[in-house]
């Protein structure tokens, strides 16, 4: 144990009595909220589906990219044969009008794009935001001003418009999912950075940080050992709400035809092709629309739950809820 650790430990305990609860406590507080719990259940299911996509498609015996001319009625312009968009024992959720590609396989593979890009973009945003926020909070006045004004501009700009414009100038050969992660990540770090800067400024003046500095810790060490642990709660709270917005952005960009490129299946893209079929084959619209809706809602419910759970005042409120539901607890 180093000097700064020794000095930090008692100060941290007394100065921040409502310090970030650990992962176990977070989970206990999340469990008390029904909406958040439902969100977690849906997310776990979606992640499993995304991970097991090849397995699920194999189980159904279909390939996401294979065309099935016999499954659509070419005389009617390509409307799926059978009811509910061509649902059958072979095609569990029907087929895509026009091409006859299997919808179940395309939807489960689409979960990979949606979740993968949504989560990866959030990671990029959080890393950038924490780095910029810490630098602004710890740096000199000039650096702080420069970074804070840049953050203001980033926050004001409509992400979607800039993402679309950026996607226009990148060479076509660049792998699309990586590009989407980078573009969303580079445009969306403003909120995290602003929160981290504010937290850093208020933590910086606390005794335990001063003690660490007196103990000879450098800026980098202070940032890493003393500040980052206390930043975890606000950063986790904010980033939990970034995930659904990134998933929605990816769906939106793919819907506009500038996200992932076909034939890679993506919910947004399926939705956009579904809009031309929505009168002849409403099932085809409802599936991707419903999935995007449920996914975004589940992540939002979880994010909202995390915010309540990590709110310093939440402890008493949640205890009250729990008492109301299960009777008094010691």
């Amino acid at each position: 144990m180093t000097t700064s650790d020794v000095l930090a430990a008692p100060g941290a305990a007394s100065d921040t009595p409502e310090a970030a609860p650990g992962a176990r406590q977070l989970w206990r507080r999340l469990r008390a909220q029904r909406a958040a719990l439902a969100g977690v259940a849906v997310i776990v299911l979606l992640v499993l589906v995304a991970l097991a996509a090849p397995l699920l498609a194999a189980l159904e015996g279909q390939d996401p990219d294979a065309y099935h001319a016999s499954a659509v009625d070419s005389a009617l312009g390509g409307v799926p044969v059978g009811s509910f968009g061509g649902v059958s024992a072979d095609h569990w959720l029907g087929v895509e009008p026009g091409t006859g590609r299997d919808l179940f396989a395309r939807l489960v593979y689409g979960a990979r794009i949606s979740l993968g890009i949504g989560l990866a973009a959030t990671v990029v945003q959080v890393v950038l935001g924490v780095a910029v926020g810490l630098a602004a909070g710890l740096g000199n006045r000039f650096l702080d001003n420069l970074l804070s004004r840049t953050t203001d501009v980033m926050l004001a700009l409509p992400t979607l418009v800039f993402a679309i414009a950026l996607l226009a100038i990148v060479p076509a050969g660049f792998p699309r999912p990586v590009l989407l992660v980078l573009v969303l990540g580079l445009l969306g770090w403003g909120g995290t950075s602003r929160i981290v800067r504010a937290q850093t400024l208020s933590l910086k003046s606390l005794d335990y940080v001063a003690a660490a500095r007196l103990g000879g810790a450098g800026r980098w060490r202070i940032a890493r050992r003393e500040l980052l642990p206390s930043l975890a709660a606000p950063v986790v709270t904010y980033s939990a709400l970034l995930v659904p917005s990134n998933i929605a952005s990816e769906a939106g960009l793919s819907f506009l035809g500038i996200g992932v490129k076909p034939p890679t299946p993506s919910w947004g893209q399926m939705l956009s092709s579904a809009t031309t079929w929505y009168q002849a084959d409403p099932t085809y619209v409802l599936l991707p629309a419903g999935l995007i809706f449920v996914t975004v809602l589940a992540f939002t419910a979880l994010g909202d739950g995390v915010r309540t759970a990590l709110d310093p005042r939440a402890g008493t409120r949640l205890r009250a809820v729990a008492r109301g539901r299960k009777g008094a607890r010691p």
Partner: protein, 332 residues
């Protein structure tokens, strides 16, 4: 000069600075960083000769700073640009020339503005009526069912993308019920009735999402005002409850709502990209998507700048409006 005027001027000056920085960043991003911006600007169908011509026209062989100065000069004072077949004057604000459309970017965007304005202003009117109305109502019945419903709807409204709502509305009202036509934009000047009728769905899609946010803001702001001393005094003097709520409390509760409206309107003017694309409204947002597809770089850059302009301006206007409504801000 009053304090308020000084505040407004300072705020607008700051906005101008941000715009300048933005224009530098955008110019660097689109015209300096890419390997061959002339090819991008000219479009995928250009011959080598045409690309060379565009390169000279844009001054892409000059140092980056000189290029930017030329670009800025066009923006504020106008400039002469070659169109490939001749030279024409491009008045300020000159955003360049779309070689694919054979037209100046500024006039291309000006043609798109009415559709975007129709969409944004109509949706705004709708969400203000629904949002503020619900907000006031739920503030008056604090803790009631409206309030809990509102929290749920806001949670969903914050998250669910507008095109999902739009598609579901379309399925319901066009396919299932058949009450509305499949939306196709009709200019207001051509046929006001058809204009409104075709915009009902886009307006509704935007308004459903936005009004939840406004309801929540109005509610909390209204609750704050209702607990203030002057409201209690009005009540103590026997002012009728309707007048207390409608005239005095509401006025105190509105400044944040007005500020948010200015912000949202700015963003929307920059392009309700998804809504316009879904419903085929030929506005600025759809134009952005179209020009990205056809790789028409000058239009994309122009749109990014125009969007930035609207957003930054809206931020400044929101701050000033807030200050007008609540003078305490000026002193801060």
């Amino acid at each position: 000069m009053t304090l308020l005027t000084r505040f407004a001027l300072r705020r607008l000056l700051a906005a101008l600075l941000v715009l300048l920085v933005l224009s530098i960043a955008v110019y660097a991003l689109f015209y300096v960083l890419p390997g061959d911006p002339a090819r991008l600007a000219c479009g995928p169908k250009c011959t080598a000769d045409q690309v060379a011509q565009v390169r000279t026209q844009l001054g892409l062989d000059d140092p980056a700073l000189a290029q930017y100065a030329h670009f800025l000069h066009g923006l504020f004072a106008g400039t002469d640009i070659s169109t490939g077949v001749g030279t024409e004057h491009c008045g300020a604000p000159c955003l360049g020339f779309s070689y694919q459309n054979g037209e100046q970017v500024t006039s291309l965007l000006a043609q798109r503005l009415p559709a975007t304005a129709s969409l944004s202003l109509g949706a705004m009117a709708l969400w203000l009526v629904i949002g503020v109305g619900t907000g006031v109502l739920s503030a008056l019945r604090h803790g009631g069912i409206t309030e809990r419903l509102l929290t749920a709807v806001t949670l969903a409204g914050n998250a669910v993308p507008v095109f999902i709502i739009g598609i579901l509305l379309m399925l319901l009202f066009v396919s299932v019920l058949g009450w509305l036509p499949f939306p196709s934009y009709v200019p207001l000047t051509e046929d006001p009735e058809q204009w409104a009728w075709n915009l009902v769905l886009p307006w509704l899609s935007l308004a459903i999402l936005e009004s939840a946010k406004y309801a929540r803001l109005t509610r909390s702001s209204m609750l704050d005002t209702l607990s203030e001393d002057h409201v209690r005094t009005f009540r103590a003097y026997g002012v009728r409850e309707r007048s207390v709520i409608g005239r005095h409390a509401l006025r105190g509760a509105l400044p944040p709502v007005i500020a948010l409206t200015a912000l949202d309107l700015g963003t929307m003017f920059g392009g309700a990209v998804l809504t316009e694309s879904l419903f085929g409204i030929p506005g600025l947002g759809k134009s952005l998507v179209d020009s990205v597809r056809t790789e028409d770089l000058p239009v994309v850059v122009g749109l990014v700048l125009v969007t930035g302009f609207f957003v930054v301006l809206a931020n400044a206007v929101a701050d000033v409006l807030y200050a007008v409504a609540d003078r305490r801000v000026v002193l801060a």
